[in-house]
Amino acid sequence: MYAIIVYDVGVERVSKICSFLRCFLSWVQNSVFEGELTESQLMRIKEGIKEIIDKNNDSVRIYIMRSKDVFKMELIGIEKADTGPFI
């Protein structure tokens, strides 16, 4: 499945959640990650996020799609990060 994760968390937890998500997905913008995931990876992400955030103040949204082909992404402005497999 393809997932887009956006988060709005307290300043002191921003870098924590960012470096946690970096292990699984590619960074595309500030507070936005996306990429291909398996069922088990998604479960591990959810558990990990629960441990980091403060449930009363923070908010993390996960958009889950069947694959990258089911939606169309339009970009205005610049691409912030290169996510391709060629470095």
Partner: protein, 356 residues
């Protein structure tokens, strides 16, 4: 689905925040180091990932299936152990795009039974020749599929097709491996001689290696070494022993089983990519560097080829027996499983032949 990452730049891999960062200098273009024996890079102990003069790329550890390294990259033991823990093989390629080595995580699928069975199939002459025949047969059939495709496209390949069809009938008559190898060589050289008819541009006279002498040879060598690394990775995920091979002689310091298996997939992956790149004018003379007696893909050329190759590996087809979509990379894995079944006496090995 995990991805292969291809590193073309020079730089270093570091472990940070439980994932892998690739750090390279900002100004540097995607270049392949001109030095063949790269000078030692200075060991930097401080954290350079946040410095302004360096560009960084975060590789999500969970997404990496394997790393293909074409640039000069330094790795620390920390990164190596981290990659090994996550079962990620790292393939290294030399300046000429040749396969150099693979950094393998420790063997995780061990099986004494499989090992012994595989060796027994090598020792017994009959059993060994049986498997070797299947490899040659698979290779010949897939070559024929390619030729038949271009025959339908209106190229006159009747001579080559009938030659190879006849040759594949005589596979069964071969008594030992050296005869098979000779036959396989004859099929290949006939096949290569048809390249001039299939391709719109580029002349192909004969297969030359180490170093390749013309653009086509450069592409074939580059593609074959990539395929070789891919097969090694798939064998790694099974219980097969990399070093015991059947068609090629098992020799020291080589993963020779991968040579056998890649024989079957060369027409499907490497050759078809070359046909496409040349006939659609995606690759041209300016993507090669010609030196004395040698011809190599340049940076741009390598990137084009790698892009095409990566796309090809991920292309899926509906598998007839499994009834679900399978990627080309997965097909190689399934081929290894078929060999396992053969060794264990569950089902006789039949080589993969393109059915679409």
């Amino acid at each position: 689905m995990k991805k292969n990452f291809y590193i073309l730049r020079n730089g270093k891999l570091i472990r940070k925040g439980n994932t892998i960062y690739f750090i390279y200098e900002k100004s540097e273009e995607k270049v392949f180091s001109a030095e063949i024996d790269g000078e030692e890079m200075e060991v930097e102990t401080e954290d350079i990932s946040d410095k302004q003069e360096y560009e960084k790329r975060v590789l999500p550890i969970e997404q990496i299936s394997s790393l293909f390294i074409y640039g000069r990259v330094s790795l620390t033991s920390g990164v190596i152990s981290f990659l090994s823990k996550n079962n990620i093989p790292v393939h290294f390629f030399g300046y000429y795009g040749n396969y150099e080595s693979t950094l393998m995580p420790k063997e995780m699928l061990l099986s004494g039974e499989m090992h012994i069975k595989q060796a027994m199939h090598y020792i017994s002459q009959d059993k060994r020749v049986f498997i070797a025949k299947r490899f040659v047969e698979g290779s010949a059939q897939n070559i024929l599929r390619n030729l038949e495709y271009y025959q339908r496209e209106g190229k006159d390949l009747q001579e080559e097709i009938s030659y190879i069809t006849n040759a594949s009938f005589s596979i069964e008559n071969c008594k030992d491996v050296s005869q098979l190898l000779a036959l396989e060589g004859a099929i290949r050289s006939k096949y290569y001689s048809s390249f001039n008819k299939i391709l719109k541009s580029f002349e192909f006279d004969e297969r030359t290696r180490q170093p390749p002498e013309n653009p086509l040879n450069a592409m074939i060598s580059f593609g074959n070494s990539l395929l070789y690394a891919t097969v090694i990775k798939q064998i790694y995920h099974t219980q097969l022993d990399q070093t015991i091979s059947f068609l090629h002689e098992p020799s020291e310091r080589r993963f020779s089983l991968a040579l056998d298996i890649s024989e079957i997939f060369k027409p499907l992956l490497v050759d078809r990519i070359i046909f496409k790149l040349v006939n659609k004018d995606i690759i041209g003379e300016d993507h090669f560097v010609k030196e004395l007696n040698s011809c190599l893909l340049n940076n741009k050329g390598k990137e084009i080829f790698l892009r095409e190759y990566d796309e090809k590996l991920q292309t899926t087809i509906k598998h007839r027996d499994l009834g679900r979509n399978v990627s080309y990379e997965r097909l190689i894995y399934l081929e290894c499983l078929k060999l396992c079944k053969h060794f264990l006496g569950i089902k006789d090995y039949k080589p993969f032949v393109i059915w679409w």
